[in-house]
Symmetry: C2
DNA sequence: ATAAACTCCGTACCCCACTACAGAGTCAAG
DNA sequence: CTTGACTCTGTAGTGGGGTACGGAGTTTAT
């Protein structure tokens, strides 16, 4: 049995059943085949896909943006050139995010360094650098 | 005149007026003093603060998390030790995000490398690696 | 001194991304 | 073959994060 029922997928991916149906409606995962009864029969690969979606969400991508990421590979009308351009654009977006996070991180490190005593925090300097 | 009216702040920070009032209600920016008329008089520093909030949002932090980031410096009951611990926790969170973004980036790079022709995209391999 | 632009508050509404029913049918273990 | 868990569709509700009025008062440029 190489197909999963929705509840199993939900458990493995760590989301609720309703979320899966929602992602299907929104086109973030392909509509799986159904058995006679109407039950969905998911390929095991959908679990990874859902996990990817969750990861990307954590990183501040909207579902629409995640759509774009996912569709990089499947649009049959796109030329390879177009795919490459879109991919590069996504890479650029990601790099911007990484840099912003690194700036944020180093700001927090300054706070850490500047705050080495054990007195009240009001004495603790910095973090005006947060700007 | 070292104080700004809400419309000016909005323009400089690149958000709507309503958003500023909303952030004030939610405690993300301090309530500014008012003139007789009730008009808010913002210190120019609020612009940076709002920009910081927007940046952090882009990176997938919720307003509640941003609160925590911002409050690292101002809780007068916290000891320096507590501030350091919270700060370290935020740094850890940020590092997790950075790593996830870097994985995503290198996945996209593989796609780029694997997709060097100019035929239809359906021929373009990979991106099952997106998992 | 007056019109245009701005601000106030409160309330209501919006979009996104779920989440929770309700009522009916299906499946699998004992 | 029953019973309890699972799934179906559809619709409605929720929480986060704003956004949009409406009606009234304030500022400011001319």
């Amino acid at each position: 049995m190489t197909s999963l029922k929705i509840g199993t997928v939900a458990k493995q991916a760590g989301v609720g059943i309703e979320t899966i149906r929602y992602y299907e409606r929104e086109g973030l995962i392909p509509s799986p085949p159904r058995r006679e009864s109407g039950y969905r029969e998911f390929p095991p690969s959908v679990v990874k896909r859902i996990k990817f979606i969750r990861h990307a969400k954590e990183l501040g991508f909207s579902l629409a943006e995640i759509q774009e990421l996912l569709s990089l590979r499947v649009d049959p009308d796109a030329t390879q050139l177009q795919v490459r351009e879109k991919t590069q654009a996504k890479i650029d977006e990601i790099e911007v995010k990484i840099h912003a996070l690194e700036r944020m991180k180093s700001t927090l490190h300054s706070l850490l360094d500047a705050c080495q005593g054990d007195g009240p925090a009001s004495v603790c300097p910095i973090l005006d650098a947060l700007d």
